[in-house]
Symmetry: C2
Subunit: 339 residues, 2 copies
């Protein structure tokens, strides 16, 4: 069984996207929020079957942990009410995809974060998505300002209400920023990777997992710059008198395989324990083209993992077992489905 | 011959550091700038011989391209006048090191950048350092705000006056941020690496080297996250209808080897052409300890490069030839020295 831990609904129906545009326009002009359109099942089916489902089948994966499009979470746009309404719509749309394809998609929610707003305002939406919609985790944006980095580090106590609820619900978060409103940062080419690196270093500096030994965080895009600079981070932990990375962090932090070339995947598996790696592709996502050097899609990360000299047990962990451990509610769903 | 392209004066005499403290205190209190102390040659000799010079000899390198400590450039501290005075003192101190050890150190200057201040105010200091002090390049801070990223991308025309002067003087810049005043970013564990990745992506998005075909930029710390995500960047270039990375950027961008473990160095050399890699260690710098896995210093990057299956010609390029090409004024100095 092959589980892709990192898929976003980047192909959502146009009606949904147009509603967002109208919502933001209404906020800007001080008008009333538009009513949300009826989106027929057929439009959802079409958007999924021609894209994610087709590619999953072509590439040989079985299931995607599926969340709203990261780049359009746009926590920095509008205000808290705008973010709450948009997040709710996005999560409801994910639920519809899951209901149409219950064996192929499981839901992860977007949180209604908003700059300067306490994170406990996001707890209710997390509870709704987990308890009512059957979702198995959330995406947590460490920079809801969209590239201006005004929120405190993830180890700050202001984030604790969310972590408490995550532990209570036994769901992990993927640490994932949204679009950059700061022109210095290209979203998928800089902001995403910087956020991954930044989050890991914050966790290294702090002692968050002493307070939350059961908290689990997935750092996407192969951990940003972290595996490439694994020696730097090991050395910084040493200089800071922290335990080793393994003792300090790797019981709680997991990386995905969204690294779009073989040498990068090789490095990831060389330095990061196999128990901490979850197969992911970020498909259909950041990089959509075909690599002229290989003739294959850049984001067909399964090929890179397949090329590794892993044992059967190791492959099972990376492709499914680790995801079932990190997302226990996914495991419950699969068990209920007899998988 | 072995040239380390990335060394900072992290061990400057205490009198110099105390003056900086007094300068900042005077700025804060509105007092007069203190007079700069007499620093005896012996104090400079001691600070160098017990540190950089000792390590250079132990590790078998011959020469370091030497610049003021990056983390204390502190462009965000004080105002333009504070930055100008401090930069001048720092650069003068580097000149004294070079004069004491002319066969072991060559100078690269800190620029007197200040947030919101046009870059052409830094041009005079670059000219002074190159023409009067014999320096061979500069460090360019893409984020003089210290982690708040308020400056425009490096491709913005507001940076052009510096690039024009660099081309005229035939000197490169190392793109290097200073300390982070933003608590989300650890300096050496996040801000440095993020800046490297961010700069590369800005250059990928833009067409700076069409306007400045002879401009040369060194991106330190092994290029941040870039080599690890080389496939992502190749794919993004493709999506943006840019030429290949090689055609678009690699005639002008160079990475150093400040990657503190063997797998990272292996990856760097696997994906980045050998002509674009300059040996560097960032020594004495970010990570000062001994790797318990190898028993060697994390930042003894020469060992990692020595372990690579490079030809003699390739080693010569990485250890010296590329530096002589990227820094033509270094080559002139070496030729004059009969080296």
């Amino acid at each position: 069984m092959i589980i892709d831990c990192h898929g976003h609904y980047t192909t959502a129906p146009e009606l949904h996207t147009l509603w967002r545009d109208a919502q933001v326009a209404a906020f800007t002009s001080g008008g009333e929020e538009p009513s949300y359109p009826e989106i027929p099942d057929d439009q959802i089916r079409e958007s999924i079957e021609q894209n994610q489902l087709r590619l999953l089948r072509e590439r040989g994966a079985d299931l995607t942990i599926f969340s709203p499009r990261a780049s359009t979470m746009g926590h920095h746009i509008g205000d808290e009410a705008v973010s709450r309404a948009w997040s709710g719509r996005c999560n409801d749309l994910i639920k519809r995809v899951v209901d149409l394809y219950p064996e192929t998609f499981v839901g992860v929610c977007q949180l209604p974060q908003s700059p300067g707003t306490p994170i406990d305002r996001s707890v209710a939406e997390l509870e709704r998505c987990v308890n009512e919609l059957g979702f198995i985790g959330c995406n947590l944006n460490p920079d809801p300002s969209g590239g201006f980095w005004t929120a405190p580090p993830l180890t700050d106590r202001s984030w604790y209400p969310l972590y408490e609820k995550m532990v209570e619900l036994d769901v992990p978060a993927m640490v994932h920023v949204s679009a950059s409103a700061n022109p210095v940062f290209h979203a998928t080419g800089a902001h995403y990777l910087n956020a991954d690196t930044t989050a890991f270093m914050q966790l290294l500096q702090g002692d968050l997992f002493k307070d939350f030994p059961d908290l689990r965080l997935v750092i996407p895009h192969g951990g940003g710059a972290v595996p490439y600079h694994w020696g730097r981070f090991r050395g910084l932990a040493d200089m800071m008198k922290k335990p080793t990375l393994h003792e300090h962090l790797m019981g709680n932090i997991f990386f995905d395989t969204c690294v779009y070339h073989q040498p990068g995947i090789n490095l990831l598996f060389e330095v990061v324990p196999v128990d901490n790696i979850l197969f992911g592709s970020e498909m259909v996502g950041a990089v959509r083209g075909i690599d002229p050097e290989t003739g294959q899609f850049f984001d067909d990360t399964k090929r890179y993992v397949d090329n590794l000299p892993l044992t059967g047990v190791e492959k099972d962990k990376v492709f499914a077992g680790n995801a079932r451990t990190v997302y226990p509610r996914l495991n419950d769903i699969l068990v209920a489905q007899g998988r």
